[in-house]
Symmetry: C2
């Protein structure tokens, strides 16, 4: 069997100018970055002529794998197979996981976006620009303190962290500014992976350069000795940060293996941030294509909820249909099986695990959105199981369609594509938000916890209780919320699969992300700087004398 990169290297790519032309882009709006990548100008803010939006999400992820990105790419290729003008809008991968675990984030098998080496490595430099802006801000904060500290920033209350786009556990807890007076003011510090930087979330929610700069100015970097918030605007550096991001904010255009246009742009975490590609890219795709396929991070409880409650208001366009990805294997794990038990047919485990899928379907329907289930086919799936899953879906009046896009590319997803199109053509989408921003902060958290996660109640720990008060004083309580929770369970306990009952959601801390425009609600120890595994993928990577890449999966 060929590896992903071997399949990718056999693909027939069109010059990126040709892809741009197919989309109807003007030449002056396209800046090629090499032969197969381009930056395109920011979308017109005035255009109301938008295509249909398809949001791909999934059940809670399990070690069995769901393949949301592969299904998204396959669906877009499938739509093109049935002669619809489809465009992809996806996240761009972080170097950290690429070097750490086996794999990039560009799909797999015969459903990939290309050139996968470039997209998985530095791509057009967006994440590097974010890292640079993030760390320029840190240097400017520490320099301000070192040079007299006019703003009276308390070094022990700096909440802005440095960042690097790498998995590096040794940078989680550090002390900087050691040495002597000339080396700055010592304080504790931590590095996040760059995609966890608030600047990534900002870049993904900003509609244009002006919006970007306004958001950057609002970032709260810490507090004074008098516990007053200090912002980027107080430091007068929003202009410099925006300058560092002026190219990064432009959407990147690439293509799938079947030459379907794909915008790959931005990639914030789906727990401490909202987990989907940029508003700029999605809007561009919507303006150029008849069908835009986009993806939300993790399961629908995290990714889709945030897409719908955080991104949609900024995008000003809701999905016309939801595609919910599930695999037989993963559902069986939600039904109680271990990875070792997955090979055998087990309809009762499947039925039990189906509850997880059903809960996510109901959640999406409560937003007023129609759902199609995509069953991502795996080699060992049993015919009986597939039929039974389709039956279970039918019982709740949802169509479940098999996708073999990983093995067959677009032709493996034409049935899925047709089903999605006919669903959209019924015009049933009637999006309504889960909560209004004016609701009290506690109530907004309860709304998500109870309605989406199925929690019986929410418990606020001491620190969070104080913050509920403080944030109200600062006038920060009217923002949408972004709950950081384990992706593996509907609850805040990663070990509870299926549909956990009678649990409380425990809120430890609330973090202001005033630039991104949401409050992060922490319900556990969310790792914002991953570590490398015992044998990092880096050990297998190579490039030969002619520039040919190996060891990227």
């Amino acid at each position: 069997m060929l590896s992903d990169i071997e399949i990718a290297q056999k693909a027939n790519l069109a010059p990126i100018e040709q892809i741009a032309q197919k989309l109807g882009l003007f030449q002056e709006d396209v800046e090629p970055y090499g032969k197969y990548k381009a930056k395109v100008s920011l979308p017109e803010s005035t255009s109301n002529d938008m295509g249909k939006l398809i949001l791909v999400t999934s059940i809670n992820p399990t070690p069995a794998g769901e393949g949301k990105t592969t299904v998204s790419i396959g669906l877009a290729d499938g739509l093109n197979q049935i002669h619809k003008k489809a465009v992809l809008a996806l996240r761009e991968p972080s170097l950290g996981p690429v070097m750490g675990l086996k794999g990039g984030a560009t799909g797999g098998g015969y459903s990939q976006v290309l050139p996968m080496e470039d997209i998985n490595l530095h791509f057009t430099g967006d994440i590097h620009a974010i890292t640079a802006a993030n760390n320029a801000l840190s240097a400017l904060i520490d320099n301000h303190i070192h040079q007299g500290n006019e703003l009276e920033i308390d070094p022990q209350q700096i909440i802005w962290k440095r960042s690097l786009d790498i998995n590096d556990r040794a940078l989680r807890h550090t002390v900087v500014g050691l040495g002597n007076k000339a080396q700055g003011v010592p304080h504790e510090e931590g590095f996040d992976i760059s995609v966890a930087s608030e600047i990534m979330a900002i870049l993904c929610l900003a509609n244009d350069l002006a919006d970007l700069k306004t958001r950057l100015a609002k970032i709260v970097i810490g507090y004074t000795y008098q516990n007053k918030p200090v912002t980027v605007h107080d430091l007068q550096v929003e202009g410099a940060l925006a300058l560092l991001l002026k190219e990064a904010i432009k959407p990147n255009l690439v293509q799938t293996m079947e030459q379907t246009p794909a915008f790959i742009h931005g990639g914030p975490f789906a727990n401490i941030a909202h987990g989907c590609n940029s508003v700029a890219a999605t809007k561009t795709a919507l303006q150029l294509g008849d069908y835009t396929v986009t993806e939300a991070g993790f399961g629908a409880d995290l990714g889709a909820e945030k897409f719908l409650d955080i991104k949609v208001p900024s995008l000003d366009k809701a999905p016309d249909a939801i595609v919910m990805v599930a695999t037989i294997r993963a559902l069986k794990m939600h039904g109680g099986l271990t990875t070792e038990q997955l090979a055998n047919e087990d309809l009762s485990a499947l039925k039990k695990g189906f509850a997880n899928l059903k809960k996510h379907i109901n959640n999406m329907q409560n937003y007023g959105l129609p759902v199609v289930v995509a069953i991502n086919e795996f080699a060992l799936d049993q015919e009986n199981e597939l039929l039974y899953l389709q039956e279970l879906c039918q019982e709740i009046s949802v169509t479940a369609v098999l996708s073999s896009a990983w093995e067959n590319g677009g032709p493996g997803a034409t049935e899925l594509a047709s089903t999605v199109v006919s669903t959209i053509e019924k015009n049933e989408a009637n999006y309504k938000r889960l909560y209004q921003n004016q609701l009290p902060l506690e109530d907004k958290i309860k709304e998500v916890a109870q309605k989406i996660y199925g929690a019986s109640d929410v418990v606020f720990e001491k620190k969070a209780k104080k913050q509920l008060k403080d944030f109200k004083t600062f006038g920060w309580d009217l923002l949408p919320i972004c709950i950081a929770k384990t992706q593996y369970s509907l609850s805040d306990d990663a070990s509870l699969l299926g549909v956990p009952q009678n649990f409380t959601l425990n809120v430890k801390e609330i973090q202001p992300k005033m630039g991104a425009g949401f409050l992060v609600v922490l319900t556990g120890n969310i790792l914002t700087m991953p570590g490398l595994p015992k044998r990092p993928a880096a050990l297998d990577m190579d490039v030969d004398d002619s520039g040919r890449v190996s060891g990227l999966f």
Copy 2:
């Protein structure tokens, strides 16, 4: 008066494809990065057909400014004005100083390389790729130790430092790996600015991808508990690091304000590294142009010495002429004046300061290379002083030509260009290295100290003495040396201007840069992570809603 960026924004740029075509590059060797930048394929290693090489260097820099880059750009434009096919090969700027002090590194006035905003900001991402590779290596080292430490690396003897492309004094001395067992192994750590990373030096000396990978494999990252050196090859990650650098190693093509082709690629420090642009870029320029103008860092004692003893062997081509840049103002400072005293005519100070220029001229002549002096004109220069300086040069049989390229662009440097061409046409260059690599390490250091700096002797401090022995044991003593010394004086004492006499050079430490292929000889506290000033340039930078940049000088 217009600022540099205002002048730059009025320039008439040709599409980069057109510049590439003018050079005779094939379309398949050019990858555009936007409309006015491109990466070009690595040069053919087989081609022997090279043009003439002009190395621009200078007297020891003073606060009065010398303008080496401006003269280099002006000279290339001047050569084109007199119908010679000239190409530039220059260093690319680091973001650190751009955000910190007023100014980028793309020339000034009417002698600039463009697009200056892009070149000064992220450009084509080379330095970001170096940062990523540098820090991936750090993460892989710390992960190796954390995951069992098979190689028995002593955490207290890791000499590989992390890096960021920013001026950030708080990162000079840090402790990483704090927290608990899951957060890695605690150890002291420091961050260098990325351009001080050995990877930058490697990228600039490698002839191709194979050479790059071989050099990366040889990097010594630290020592075992038994004091044995540990290399990147021991960690098996040279392939991954080379992969991260596969695009960064390709030269970047841009243009001057007068559409002269310019390769801007690589930019290592000129003290702890060799201080000139990449071998790949210089070689490409030499293969495509009749005259290649390139620049060495700092004064000729540091930059040109390293160009001639470190870069030339890798490039396999020596300069055909040296252009030595001086200003009346700077020479008067070498003659004892303060910045406040520069406005008035002072021939005796000029004569006294001329000694510095003369010493550098003699040094270059001792390499067997002909020298032309370029007097970079400043508004307040006195006619008498200019004539007197030319006279002083004439007395030692060297032509000194005025350049007004800053004010007038290429037309202000045509006389300089003609003089350089006629000097080259006399065919007097007969390059010989200062020392052979086989010389004992102490003797190589003494050779540079005595012949180039004019030191009476070299004193090795205790640590350096031990290293002289150790390095011999490790077989490292046969490499060329790279002396890190203050750039402001021929001696290792920054306060001694002019031509210091009867001083000793004090060697504190020797650092192995086995990938770069040289030994760094430290003679003082060389800052490899700058700090930001009281009022960083970042505070004045901005980008408006349409993407127009301001505050870059």
